[in-house]
Symmetry: C2
Subunit: 318 residues, 2 copies
Amino acid sequence: MPITDHVGWIAVDWGSSNLRAWAVTAAGRVLAHGGSERGMLSLASSDYETALLEVVGNWLPASRRTPVLVCGMAGARQGWREAAYLPLPARLDDLARGAVCPPVNDARPAVRLLPGLCQSAAGAFDVMRGEETQLAGLVADDRRFSGLVCLPGTHAKWARLEQGAVTRFTTCLTGELYGLLARQSVLKHSIGADDLAAPGDREAFVFAVRDIHANPGRYTARLFGLRASDLLDAGLPAGDARSARLAARLSGLCVGLELAGMGDELADSGPITLVGNAALCTRYALALEALGHESQRLDGDAAVLAGLGLAYQALPAL
Amino acid sequence: MPITDHVGWIAVDWGSSNLRAWAVTAAGRVLAHGGSERGMLSLASSDYETALLEVVGNWLPASRRTPVLVCGMAGARQGWREAAYLPLPARLDDLARGAVCPPVNDARPAVRLLPGLCQSAAGAFDVMRGEETQLAGLVADDRRFSGLVCLPGTHAKWARLEQGAVTRFTTCLTGELYGLLARQSVLKHSIGADDLAAPGDREAFVFAVRDIHANPGRYTARLFGLRASDLLDAGLPAGDARSARLAARLSGLCVGLELAGMGDELADSGPITLVGNAALCTRYALALEALGHESQRLDGDAAVLAGLGLAYQALPAL
Protein backbone atom coordinates (compact mmCIF):
# COMPACT_ATOMS: atom_id res chain seq x y z
CA MET A 1 0.00 0.00 0.00
CA PRO A 2 1.64 3.32 -1.00
CA ILE A 3 2.47 5.90 1.65
CA THR A 4 0.38 8.47 -0.20
CA ASP A 5 -2.80 6.51 0.64
CA HIS A 6 -2.21 6.72 4.39
CA VAL A 7 -0.21 9.86 5.10
CA GLY A 8 -2.08 12.30 7.33
CA TRP A 9 0.63 14.92 7.70
CA ILE A 10 4.38 15.34 7.46
CA ALA A 11 6.71 16.32 10.29
CA VAL A 12 9.95 18.19 9.50
CA ASP A 13 12.83 19.23 11.77
CA TRP A 14 14.85 21.67 9.64
CA GLY A 15 18.05 22.81 11.29
CA SER A 16 21.14 24.81 10.35
CA SER A 17 22.91 21.90 8.74
CA ASN A 18 20.29 19.31 7.78
CA LEU A 19 16.62 18.45 7.53
CA ARG A 20 14.82 15.35 8.75
CA ALA A 21 11.26 14.39 7.87
CA TRP A 22 8.65 11.80 8.81
CA ALA A 23 5.44 10.76 7.05
CA VAL A 24 2.81 10.29 9.76
CA THR A 25 -0.74 8.88 9.69
CA ALA A 26 -3.62 10.92 11.08
CA ALA A 27 -3.45 8.58 14.08
CA GLY A 28 0.21 9.41 14.68
CA ARG A 29 1.94 6.32 13.28
CA VAL A 30 5.21 6.91 11.38
CA LEU A 31 5.04 5.46 7.86
CA ALA A 32 8.41 6.59 6.53
CA HIS A 33 11.30 8.87 7.34
CA GLY A 34 13.98 10.63 5.35
CA GLY A 35 16.43 13.50 5.38
CA SER A 36 19.12 15.46 3.61
CA GLU A 37 22.12 17.63 4.39
CA ARG A 38 20.40 20.71 2.98
CA GLY A 39 20.18 22.87 6.11
CA MET A 40 19.52 26.59 6.53
CA LEU A 41 23.17 27.54 6.24
CA SER A 42 23.38 26.12 2.71
CA LEU A 43 20.03 27.36 1.37
CA ALA A 44 18.72 30.60 -0.11
CA SER A 45 15.08 31.41 0.58
CA SER A 46 14.10 30.29 -2.92
CA ASP A 47 15.77 26.87 -2.48
CA TYR A 48 13.58 25.59 0.33
CA GLU A 49 10.62 24.25 -1.63
CA THR A 50 12.86 22.14 -3.86
CA ALA A 51 14.91 20.92 -0.90
CA LEU A 52 11.69 19.91 0.89
CA LEU A 53 10.19 18.10 -2.10
CA GLU A 54 13.42 16.14 -2.67
CA VAL A 55 12.77 14.46 0.67
CA VAL A 56 8.97 14.39 1.09
CA GLY A 57 7.67 14.75 -2.50
CA ASN A 58 6.97 11.04 -2.93
CA TRP A 59 4.82 10.99 0.20
CA LEU A 60 2.37 13.67 -0.99
CA PRO A 61 -0.93 12.53 -2.53
CA ALA A 62 -1.87 14.46 -5.68
CA SER A 63 -5.56 14.57 -4.75
CA ARG A 64 -5.48 16.69 -1.60
CA ARG A 65 -3.33 19.15 0.35
CA THR A 66 -1.21 17.51 3.04
CA PRO A 67 -0.13 19.48 6.10
CA VAL A 68 3.66 19.77 6.43
CA LEU A 69 4.70 21.06 9.84
CA VAL A 70 8.24 22.41 10.12
CA CYS A 71 10.25 23.44 13.18
CA GLY A 72 13.76 24.86 13.38
CA MET A 73 15.93 27.28 11.45
CA ALA A 74 13.80 27.18 8.29
CA GLY A 75 11.64 29.69 10.20
CA ALA A 76 14.55 32.04 10.98
CA ARG A 77 14.88 35.48 9.44
CA GLN A 78 17.62 34.13 7.18
CA GLY A 79 15.57 30.96 6.44
CA TRP A 80 12.54 30.21 4.22
CA ARG A 81 10.27 32.74 5.83
CA GLU A 82 10.50 34.24 9.31
CA ALA A 83 8.21 32.89 11.99
CA ALA A 84 8.71 35.55 14.67
CA TYR A 85 9.84 34.41 18.11
CA LEU A 86 7.12 33.98 20.73
CA PRO A 87 7.87 35.75 24.02
CA LEU A 88 7.96 34.07 27.43
CA PRO A 89 6.09 32.66 29.22
CA ALA A 90 5.16 30.42 26.27
CA ARG A 91 2.69 27.56 26.47
CA LEU A 92 4.18 24.63 24.58
CA ASP A 93 0.79 23.28 23.42
CA ASP A 94 0.24 26.59 21.66
CA LEU A 95 3.27 26.95 19.36
CA ALA A 96 1.02 26.60 16.30
CA ARG A 97 -0.47 30.05 16.89
CA GLY A 98 2.85 31.55 15.78
CA ALA A 99 3.14 29.43 12.62
CA VAL A 100 3.57 31.12 9.23
CA CYS A 101 3.00 29.91 5.64
CA PRO A 102 6.02 30.25 3.36
CA PRO A 103 5.59 30.74 -0.41
CA VAL A 104 5.03 27.36 -2.11
CA ASN A 105 4.31 26.67 -5.79
CA ASP A 106 3.45 22.98 -5.58
CA ALA A 107 -0.27 22.46 -4.89
CA ARG A 108 0.16 19.38 -2.67
CA PRO A 109 1.91 20.51 0.55
CA ALA A 110 0.33 22.97 3.02
CA VAL A 111 3.50 24.10 4.78
CA ARG A 112 3.56 25.74 8.20
CA LEU A 113 6.77 26.98 9.86
CA LEU A 114 6.68 26.99 13.66
CA PRO A 115 8.13 29.89 15.66
CA GLY A 116 11.02 29.89 18.10
CA LEU A 117 11.03 31.46 21.56
CA CYS A 118 12.77 34.57 22.82
CA GLN A 119 13.52 35.87 26.28
CA SER A 120 13.93 39.62 26.43
CA ALA A 121 14.74 40.17 30.09
CA ALA A 122 17.63 42.67 30.37
CA GLY A 123 20.83 40.79 31.14
CA ALA A 124 19.28 37.50 30.07
CA PHE A 125 18.47 37.93 26.39
CA ASP A 126 18.15 34.54 24.77
CA VAL A 127 16.65 32.77 21.78
CA MET A 128 15.83 29.23 20.71
CA ARG A 129 14.51 27.84 17.44
CA GLY A 130 13.82 24.13 17.16
CA GLU A 131 14.42 23.18 20.78
CA GLU A 132 11.00 24.57 21.79
CA THR A 133 9.44 21.81 19.70
CA GLN A 134 11.50 19.16 21.50
CA LEU A 135 10.28 20.68 24.75
CA ALA A 136 6.73 20.49 23.42
CA GLY A 137 7.32 16.75 23.10
CA LEU A 138 7.44 16.55 26.90
CA VAL A 139 4.13 18.40 27.08
CA ALA A 140 2.55 16.10 24.51
CA ASP A 141 2.76 13.34 27.12
CA ASP A 142 1.90 15.50 30.10
CA ARG A 143 0.15 18.82 29.48
CA ARG A 144 1.13 20.06 32.93
CA PHE A 145 4.79 19.04 32.74
CA SER A 146 6.99 21.01 35.16
CA GLY A 147 10.72 20.71 35.69
CA LEU A 148 14.19 21.61 34.54
CA VAL A 149 15.09 20.34 31.07
CA CYS A 150 18.53 20.24 29.47
CA LEU A 151 19.09 19.81 25.72
CA PRO A 152 22.85 19.27 25.31
CA GLY A 153 24.50 20.25 22.04
CA THR A 154 26.44 22.89 20.12
CA HIS A 155 24.35 25.52 21.88
CA ALA A 156 23.07 23.67 24.94
CA LYS A 157 19.68 24.84 26.25
CA TRP A 158 18.41 24.72 29.81
CA ALA A 159 14.70 25.43 30.12
CA ARG A 160 12.48 25.79 33.16
CA LEU A 161 8.99 24.43 32.41
CA GLU A 162 6.04 25.22 34.66
CA GLN A 163 2.63 23.67 34.03
CA GLY A 164 3.44 23.07 30.37
CA ALA A 165 4.90 26.51 29.70
CA VAL A 166 8.50 27.72 29.31
CA THR A 167 9.07 30.41 31.92
CA ARG A 168 12.80 30.98 31.39
CA PHE A 169 15.78 29.46 29.61
CA THR A 170 19.53 29.77 29.19
CA THR A 171 21.72 28.88 26.23
CA CYS A 172 25.32 27.82 26.82
CA LEU A 173 27.90 27.86 24.02
CA THR A 174 29.43 24.68 25.45
CA GLY A 175 29.47 22.40 22.43
CA GLU A 176 30.79 25.07 20.08
CA LEU A 177 33.47 26.04 22.59
CA TYR A 178 34.55 22.41 22.90
CA GLY A 179 34.77 22.05 19.12
CA LEU A 180 36.84 25.22 18.67
CA LEU A 181 39.26 24.21 21.40
CA ALA A 182 39.57 20.58 20.30
CA ARG A 183 40.01 21.31 16.61
CA GLN A 184 41.30 24.85 16.16
CA SER A 185 43.32 25.84 19.23
CA VAL A 186 46.84 24.90 20.36
CA LEU A 187 45.13 21.95 22.08
CA LYS A 188 44.35 20.31 18.74
CA HIS A 189 47.75 18.58 18.88
CA SER A 190 46.76 16.89 22.15
CA ILE A 191 43.05 16.09 21.80
CA GLY A 192 41.91 12.78 20.30
CA ALA A 193 38.76 10.69 19.99
CA ASP A 194 36.26 11.67 22.65
CA ASP A 195 34.04 8.67 23.30
CA LEU A 196 34.72 8.05 27.03
CA ALA A 197 35.35 4.44 26.01
CA ALA A 198 37.95 3.57 28.66
CA PRO A 199 37.09 3.57 32.38
CA GLY A 200 40.06 5.91 32.91
CA ASP A 201 38.52 8.36 30.46
CA ARG A 202 35.24 8.39 32.36
CA GLU A 203 37.14 8.97 35.61
CA ALA A 204 39.10 11.81 34.00
CA PHE A 205 35.87 13.34 32.71
CA VAL A 206 34.23 13.18 36.13
CA PHE A 207 37.33 14.53 37.85
CA ALA A 208 37.43 17.50 35.47
CA VAL A 209 33.69 18.17 35.95
CA ARG A 210 34.11 18.30 39.73
CA ASP A 211 37.33 20.29 39.56
CA ILE A 212 35.96 23.10 37.40
CA HIS A 213 32.57 23.06 39.12
CA ALA A 214 34.36 23.76 42.39
CA ASN A 215 36.43 26.57 40.87
CA PRO A 216 35.03 27.68 37.51
CA GLY A 217 37.41 30.63 37.30
CA ARG A 218 40.24 28.18 36.68
CA TYR A 219 38.82 27.29 33.26
CA THR A 220 41.30 29.13 31.01
CA ALA A 221 44.24 27.96 33.13
CA ARG A 222 43.01 24.36 33.06
CA LEU A 223 42.74 24.58 29.27
CA PHE A 224 46.41 25.42 28.87
CA GLY A 225 47.13 22.83 31.54
CA LEU A 226 45.93 20.14 29.12
CA ARG A 227 48.68 21.14 26.69
CA ALA A 228 51.29 21.31 29.43
CA SER A 229 50.20 17.92 30.78
CA ASP A 230 50.66 16.44 27.32
CA LEU A 231 54.25 17.75 27.34
CA LEU A 232 55.15 16.92 30.94
CA ASP A 233 52.84 14.42 32.66
CA ALA A 234 54.53 11.01 32.81
CA GLY A 235 51.35 9.61 34.34
CA LEU A 236 49.38 9.86 31.11
CA PRO A 237 49.06 6.81 28.84
CA ALA A 238 50.73 6.91 25.40
CA GLY A 239 49.40 7.28 21.86
CA ASP A 240 45.68 7.25 21.17
CA ALA A 241 44.86 6.48 24.80
CA ARG A 242 46.68 9.69 25.77
CA SER A 243 44.77 11.92 23.38
CA ALA A 244 41.49 10.23 24.37
CA ARG A 245 42.27 10.91 28.05
CA LEU A 246 42.97 14.56 27.33
CA ALA A 247 39.77 14.80 25.25
CA ALA A 248 37.82 13.43 28.22
CA ARG A 249 39.37 16.09 30.45
CA LEU A 250 38.56 18.87 28.00
CA SER A 251 34.97 17.67 27.73
CA GLY A 252 34.73 17.53 31.53
CA LEU A 253 36.03 21.09 31.82
CA CYS A 254 33.47 22.38 29.31
CA VAL A 255 30.47 20.49 30.71
CA GLY A 256 31.54 21.20 34.29
CA LEU A 257 31.75 24.93 33.58
CA GLU A 258 28.23 24.84 32.13
CA LEU A 259 26.91 23.02 35.20
CA ALA A 260 28.65 25.48 37.51
CA GLY A 261 26.78 28.27 35.75
CA MET A 262 23.46 26.48 36.15
CA GLY A 263 24.04 26.11 39.88
CA ASP A 264 21.05 28.17 41.02
CA GLU A 265 18.69 26.34 38.68
CA LEU A 266 20.04 22.95 39.72
CA ALA A 267 19.93 23.69 43.43
CA ASP A 268 16.17 23.48 43.83
CA SER A 269 15.42 21.28 40.85
CA GLY A 270 13.96 17.80 40.91
CA PRO A 271 15.38 15.24 38.49
CA ILE A 272 16.68 16.94 35.34
CA THR A 273 15.19 15.77 32.04
CA LEU A 274 17.85 15.34 29.36
CA VAL A 275 16.66 15.50 25.76
CA GLY A 276 19.01 14.66 22.90
CA ASN A 277 21.14 11.93 21.40
CA ALA A 278 22.07 8.98 23.56
CA ALA A 279 25.84 9.55 23.78
CA LEU A 280 25.57 13.20 24.73
CA CYS A 281 22.79 12.54 27.26
CA THR A 282 24.89 9.75 28.82
CA ARG A 283 27.77 12.19 29.21
CA TYR A 284 25.58 14.84 30.83
CA ALA A 285 23.95 12.25 33.09
CA LEU A 286 27.42 11.19 34.25
CA ALA A 287 28.36 14.81 34.98
CA LEU A 288 25.11 15.50 36.81
CA GLU A 289 25.46 12.32 38.86
CA ALA A 290 28.99 13.37 39.83
CA LEU A 291 27.47 16.53 41.31
CA GLY A 292 24.64 14.67 43.05
CA HIS A 293 21.81 15.33 40.60
CA GLU A 294 19.41 12.74 39.23
CA SER A 295 18.40 12.77 35.60
CA GLN A 296 15.98 11.09 33.23
CA ARG A 297 16.05 11.01 29.44
CA LEU A 298 13.97 11.46 26.34
CA ASP A 299 15.36 10.68 22.89
CA GLY A 300 15.70 13.86 20.82
CA ASP A 301 14.00 12.45 17.72
CA ALA A 302 11.07 11.11 19.73
CA ALA A 303 10.77 14.50 21.41
CA VAL A 304 10.67 16.56 18.24
CA LEU A 305 8.21 14.19 16.58
CA ALA A 306 5.92 14.33 19.59
CA GLY A 307 6.22 18.11 19.70
CA LEU A 308 5.37 18.49 16.03
CA GLY A 309 2.42 16.15 16.61
CA LEU A 310 1.15 18.37 19.40
CA ALA A 311 1.39 21.40 17.14
CA TYR A 312 -0.37 19.54 14.34
CA GLN A 313 -3.31 18.80 16.61
CA ALA A 314 -3.52 22.48 17.54
CA LEU A 315 -3.50 23.74 13.95
CA PRO A 316 -6.79 25.06 12.65
CA ALA A 317 -8.12 22.96 9.78
CA LEU A 318 -6.15 23.84 6.65
CA MET B 1 80.71 54.86 12.06
CA PRO B 2 79.48 51.36 11.08
CA ILE B 3 77.53 49.25 13.57
CA THR B 4 80.09 46.47 13.20
CA ASP B 5 82.72 48.66 14.90
CA HIS B 6 80.66 49.07 18.05
CA VAL B 7 78.47 46.03 18.45
CA GLY B 8 79.15 44.09 21.64
CA TRP B 9 76.44 41.46 21.33
CA ILE B 10 73.09 40.85 19.67
CA ALA B 11 69.77 40.28 21.45
CA VAL B 12 67.07 38.18 19.74
CA ASP B 13 63.49 37.43 20.79
CA TRP B 14 62.42 34.60 18.48
CA GLY B 15 58.78 33.60 18.88
CA SER B 16 56.27 31.38 17.13
CA SER B 17 55.40 33.90 14.46
CA ASN B 18 58.27 36.40 14.22
CA LEU B 19 61.77 37.33 15.32
CA ARG B 20 63.03 40.66 16.62
CA ALA B 21 66.67 41.58 17.11
CA TRP B 22 68.75 44.39 18.56
CA ALA B 23 72.44 45.26 18.09
CA VAL B 24 73.79 46.29 21.50
CA THR B 25 77.10 47.78 22.63
CA ALA B 26 79.11 46.13 25.40
CA ALA B 27 77.83 48.93 27.63
CA GLY B 28 74.19 48.08 26.83
CA ARG B 29 73.28 50.81 24.34
CA VAL B 30 71.03 49.79 21.43
CA LEU B 31 72.66 50.62 18.07
CA ALA B 32 70.06 49.16 15.72
CA HIS B 33 67.02 46.94 15.66
CA GLY B 34 65.30 44.74 13.10
CA GLY B 35 62.97 41.84 12.64
CA SER B 36 61.16 39.51 10.29
CA GLU B 37 58.04 37.39 10.14
CA ARG B 38 60.04 34.18 10.08
CA GLY B 39 58.94 32.60 13.36
CA MET B 40 59.24 29.04 14.66
CA LEU B 41 55.97 27.92 13.08
CA SER B 42 57.26 28.71 9.57
CA LEU B 43 60.82 27.38 9.93
CA ALA B 44 62.52 24.00 9.69
CA SER B 45 65.54 23.45 11.92
CA SER B 46 67.90 24.01 8.97
CA ASP B 47 66.30 27.37 8.09
CA TYR B 48 67.22 29.20 11.29
CA GLU B 49 70.75 30.29 10.48
CA THR B 50 69.70 31.91 7.21
CA ALA B 51 66.67 33.54 8.85
CA LEU B 52 68.91 34.97 11.58
CA LEU B 53 71.57 36.30 9.18
CA GLU B 54 68.91 37.99 7.04
CA VAL B 55 68.21 40.25 10.01
CA VAL B 56 71.51 40.53 11.92
CA GLY B 57 74.14 39.63 9.28
CA ASN B 58 75.10 43.24 8.55
CA TRP B 59 75.78 43.92 12.23
CA LEU B 60 78.41 41.16 12.58
CA PRO B 61 82.09 42.15 12.36
CA ALA B 62 84.18 39.76 10.23
CA SER B 63 87.16 39.96 12.57
CA ARG B 64 85.73 38.40 15.74
CA ARG B 65 82.88 36.22 17.05
CA THR B 66 79.91 38.20 18.31
CA PRO B 67 77.62 36.71 20.97
CA VAL B 68 74.01 36.34 19.80
CA LEU B 69 71.64 35.60 22.65
CA VAL B 70 68.24 34.19 21.69
CA CYS B 71 65.14 33.61 23.82
CA GLY B 72 61.79 32.11 22.82
CA MET B 73 60.52 29.32 20.62
CA ALA B 74 63.75 28.97 18.63
CA GLY B 75 64.86 26.91 21.65
CA ALA B 76 61.81 24.62 21.58
CA ARG B 77 62.01 20.95 20.64
CA GLN B 78 60.46 21.80 17.28
CA GLY B 79 62.75 24.86 16.89
CA TRP B 80 66.43 25.34 15.99
CA ARG B 81 67.79 23.20 18.79
CA GLU B 82 66.12 22.31 22.07
CA ALA B 83 67.18 24.18 25.19
CA ALA B 84 65.56 22.00 27.84
CA TYR B 85 63.17 23.66 30.28
CA LEU B 86 64.61 24.64 33.67
CA PRO B 87 62.55 23.41 36.62
CA LEU B 88 61.14 25.64 39.39
CA PRO B 89 62.18 27.40 41.50
CA ALA B 90 64.29 29.14 38.84
CA ARG B 91 66.56 32.09 39.52
CA LEU B 92 66.08 34.61 36.74
CA ASP B 93 69.67 35.85 36.81
CA ASP B 94 70.77 32.33 36.01
CA LEU B 95 68.91 31.47 32.79
CA ALA B 96 72.22 31.38 30.89
CA ARG B 97 73.21 28.13 32.59
CA GLY B 98 70.57 26.34 30.53
CA ALA B 99 71.66 27.87 27.20
CA VAL B 100 72.59 25.63 24.27
CA CYS B 101 74.58 26.23 21.07
CA PRO B 102 72.76 25.41 17.85
CA PRO B 103 74.66 24.31 14.73
CA VAL B 104 75.97 27.37 12.86
CA ASN B 105 78.15 27.44 9.72
CA ASP B 106 78.98 31.15 9.62
CA ALA B 107 82.12 31.94 11.67
CA ARG B 108 80.92 35.32 12.95
CA PRO B 109 77.98 34.70 15.34
CA ALA B 110 78.34 32.75 18.60
CA VAL B 111 74.69 31.80 19.10
CA ARG B 112 73.20 30.75 22.43
CA LEU B 113 69.55 29.70 22.84
CA LEU B 114 68.10 30.35 26.30
CA PRO B 115 65.87 27.76 28.00
CA GLY B 116 62.23 28.06 29.04
CA LEU B 117 60.77 27.10 32.41
CA CYS B 118 58.58 24.19 33.37
CA GLN B 119 56.43 23.48 36.41
CA SER B 120 55.86 19.77 37.01
CA ALA B 121 53.62 19.83 40.07
CA ALA B 122 50.78 17.31 39.61
CA GLY B 123 47.63 19.15 38.70
CA ALA B 124 49.58 22.28 37.78
CA PHE B 125 51.78 21.26 34.88
CA ASP B 126 52.85 24.33 32.97
CA VAL B 127 55.50 25.62 30.58
CA MET B 128 56.80 28.97 29.34
CA ARG B 129 59.38 29.84 26.68
CA GLY B 130 60.24 33.47 26.09
CA GLU B 131 58.27 34.99 28.95
CA GLU B 132 60.96 33.92 31.46
CA THR B 133 63.32 36.35 29.73
CA GLN B 134 60.79 39.19 30.07
CA LEU B 135 60.54 38.30 33.75
CA ALA B 136 64.35 38.40 33.95
CA GLY B 137 64.06 41.99 32.78
CA LEU B 138 62.43 42.82 36.12
CA VAL B 139 65.31 41.17 37.92
CA ALA B 140 67.90 43.06 35.87
CA ASP B 141 66.74 46.21 37.66
CA ASP B 142 66.25 44.61 41.06
CA ARG B 143 67.99 41.31 41.76
CA ARG B 144 65.64 40.61 44.67
CA PHE B 145 62.41 41.46 42.87
CA SER B 146 59.36 39.85 44.49
CA GLY B 147 55.75 40.10 43.42
CA LEU B 148 52.99 38.89 41.15
CA VAL B 149 53.61 39.51 37.45
CA CYS B 150 51.11 39.20 34.60
CA LEU B 151 52.11 38.97 30.94
CA PRO B 152 48.85 39.28 28.97
CA GLY B 153 48.62 37.70 25.54
CA THR B 154 47.53 34.71 23.48
CA HIS B 155 48.64 32.50 26.36
CA ALA B 156 48.66 34.88 29.31
CA LYS B 157 51.19 34.08 32.03
CA TRP B 158 50.93 34.85 35.73
CA ALA B 159 54.18 34.34 37.63
CA ARG B 160 54.99 34.59 41.30
CA LEU B 161 58.52 35.93 41.81
CA GLU B 162 60.27 35.64 45.16
CA GLN B 163 63.70 37.21 45.68
CA GLY B 164 64.47 37.14 41.98
CA ALA B 165 63.26 33.57 41.36
CA VAL B 166 60.10 32.19 39.76
CA THR B 167 58.42 29.98 42.34
CA ARG B 168 55.21 29.17 40.47
CA PHE B 169 53.25 30.25 37.41
CA THR B 170 49.99 29.72 35.57
CA THR B 171 49.19 30.02 31.89
CA CYS B 172 45.69 31.02 30.81
CA LEU B 173 44.46 30.42 27.26
CA THR B 174 42.60 33.73 27.39
CA GLY B 175 43.84 35.47 24.27
CA GLU B 176 43.49 32.40 22.08
CA LEU B 177 40.00 31.78 23.44
CA TYR B 178 39.01 35.36 22.66
CA GLY B 179 40.33 35.05 19.11
CA LEU B 180 38.50 31.79 18.43
CA LEU B 181 35.22 33.17 19.75
CA ALA B 182 35.52 36.53 18.01
CA ARG B 183 36.56 35.18 14.64
CA GLN B 184 35.43 31.57 14.32
CA SER B 185 32.31 31.03 16.45
CA VAL B 186 28.67 32.02 15.91
CA LEU B 187 29.66 35.28 17.64
CA LYS B 188 31.76 36.36 14.64
CA HIS B 189 28.66 37.96 13.12
CA SER B 190 28.33 40.22 16.17
CA ILE B 191 31.89 41.09 17.20
CA GLY B 192 33.65 44.13 15.73
CA ALA B 193 36.74 46.25 16.35
CA ASP B 194 37.94 45.84 19.90
CA ASP B 195 39.80 48.99 20.90
CA LEU B 196 37.72 50.22 23.86
CA ALA B 197 37.67 53.57 22.07
CA ALA B 198 34.26 54.77 23.27
CA PRO B 199 33.54 55.43 26.97
CA GLY B 200 30.54 53.11 26.66
CA ASP B 201 32.85 50.35 25.48
CA ARG B 202 35.08 50.75 28.51
CA GLU B 203 32.01 50.66 30.76
CA ALA B 204 30.77 47.52 29.02
CA PHE B 205 34.20 45.92 29.41
CA VAL B 206 34.34 46.72 33.14
CA PHE B 207 30.75 45.55 33.66
CA ALA B 208 31.53 42.22 32.00
CA VAL B 209 34.72 41.79 34.03
CA ARG B 210 32.82 42.29 37.29
CA ASP B 211 29.87 40.18 36.18
CA ILE B 212 31.89 37.10 35.26
CA HIS B 213 34.30 37.56 38.17
CA ALA B 214 31.32 37.37 40.53
CA ASN B 215 29.94 34.27 38.80
CA PRO B 216 32.53 32.65 36.52
CA GLY B 217 30.32 29.64 35.90
CA ARG B 218 28.05 31.83 33.78
CA TYR B 219 30.77 32.17 31.13
CA THR B 220 29.32 29.88 28.43
CA ALA B 221 25.83 31.30 28.96
CA ARG B 222 27.12 34.89 28.77
CA LEU B 223 28.88 34.03 25.51
CA PHE B 224 25.65 33.00 23.82
CA GLY B 225 24.01 35.97 25.49
CA LEU B 226 26.17 38.26 23.33
CA ARG B 227 24.59 36.76 20.22
CA ALA B 228 21.09 36.96 21.68
CA SER B 229 21.68 40.58 22.74
CA ASP B 230 22.70 41.42 19.19
CA LEU B 231 19.36 39.99 18.02
CA LEU B 232 17.12 41.40 20.74
CA ASP B 233 18.64 44.24 22.77
CA ALA B 234 17.15 47.55 21.66
CA GLY B 235 19.51 49.33 24.07
CA LEU B 236 22.60 48.59 21.99
CA PRO B 237 23.91 51.20 19.55
CA ALA B 238 23.76 50.45 15.80
CA GLY B 239 26.37 49.54 13.22
CA ASP B 240 30.07 49.57 14.06
CA ALA B 241 29.39 50.99 17.53
CA ARG B 242 27.21 47.94 18.22
CA SER B 243 29.84 45.39 17.22
CA ALA B 244 32.51 47.34 19.12
CA ARG B 245 30.29 47.28 22.24
CA LEU B 246 29.81 43.54 21.95
CA ALA B 247 33.57 43.07 21.39
CA ALA B 248 34.22 44.99 24.61
CA ARG B 249 31.80 42.70 26.44
CA LEU B 250 33.42 39.57 25.03
CA SER B 251 36.85 40.84 26.03
CA GLY B 252 35.56 41.62 29.53
CA LEU B 253 34.12 38.13 29.88
CA CYS B 254 37.43 36.51 28.87
CA VAL B 255 39.69 38.72 30.99
CA GLY B 256 37.25 38.59 33.91
CA LEU B 257 37.21 34.79 33.84
CA GLU B 258 41.01 34.76 33.91
CA LEU B 259 41.06 37.13 36.90
CA ALA B 260 38.45 35.03 38.71
CA GLY B 261 40.77 32.05 38.35
CA MET B 262 43.72 33.99 39.73
CA GLY B 263 41.70 34.99 42.80
CA ASP B 264 43.91 33.26 45.36
CA GLU B 265 47.07 34.76 43.90
CA LEU B 266 45.53 38.22 43.72
CA ALA B 267 44.13 38.11 47.24
CA ASP B 268 47.43 38.55 49.05
CA SER B 269 49.38 40.22 46.28
CA GLY B 270 50.81 43.73 46.33
CA PRO B 271 50.57 45.79 43.14
CA ILE B 272 50.57 43.54 40.07
CA THR B 273 53.28 44.17 37.50
CA LEU B 274 51.95 44.04 33.95
CA VAL B 275 54.48 43.31 31.21
CA GLY B 276 53.51 43.56 27.55
CA ASN B 277 52.26 45.92 24.88
CA ALA B 278 50.64 49.15 25.96
CA ALA B 279 47.08 48.49 24.74
CA LEU B 280 46.83 45.08 26.34
CA CYS B 281 48.39 46.26 29.61
CA THR B 282 45.93 49.20 29.69
CA ARG B 283 43.06 46.76 29.30
CA TYR B 284 44.32 44.51 32.10
CA ALA B 285 45.00 47.49 34.34
CA LEU B 286 41.39 48.59 33.81
CA ALA B 287 40.11 45.13 34.72
CA LEU B 288 42.34 44.89 37.79
CA GLU B 289 41.30 48.35 38.93
CA ALA B 290 37.63 47.34 38.60
CA LEU B 291 38.33 44.54 41.07
CA GLY B 292 40.27 46.78 43.45
CA HIS B 293 43.83 45.82 42.49
CA GLU B 294 46.67 48.21 41.77
CA SER B 295 49.05 47.60 38.92
CA GLN B 296 52.27 48.96 37.45
CA ARG B 297 53.72 48.39 34.00
CA LEU B 298 56.84 47.49 32.11
CA ASP B 299 56.97 47.63 28.32
CA GLY B 300 57.39 44.13 26.86
CA ASP B 301 60.25 45.06 24.51
CA ALA B 302 62.16 46.84 27.26
CA ALA B 303 61.66 43.80 29.49
CA VAL B 304 62.94 41.23 27.02
CA LEU B 305 65.95 43.38 26.12
CA ALA B 306 66.84 43.84 29.79
CA GLY B 307 66.38 40.12 30.42
CA LEU B 308 68.62 39.17 27.51
CA GLY B 309 71.17 41.69 28.83
CA LEU B 310 71.13 40.02 32.22
CA ALA B 311 71.71 36.61 30.60
CA TYR B 312 74.53 38.09 28.49
CA GLN B 313 76.31 39.29 31.57
CA ALA B 314 76.02 35.85 33.13
CA LEU B 315 77.41 33.99 30.12
CA PRO B 316 80.92 32.65 30.49
CA ALA B 317 83.33 34.28 28.05
CA LEU B 318 82.72 32.77 24.61
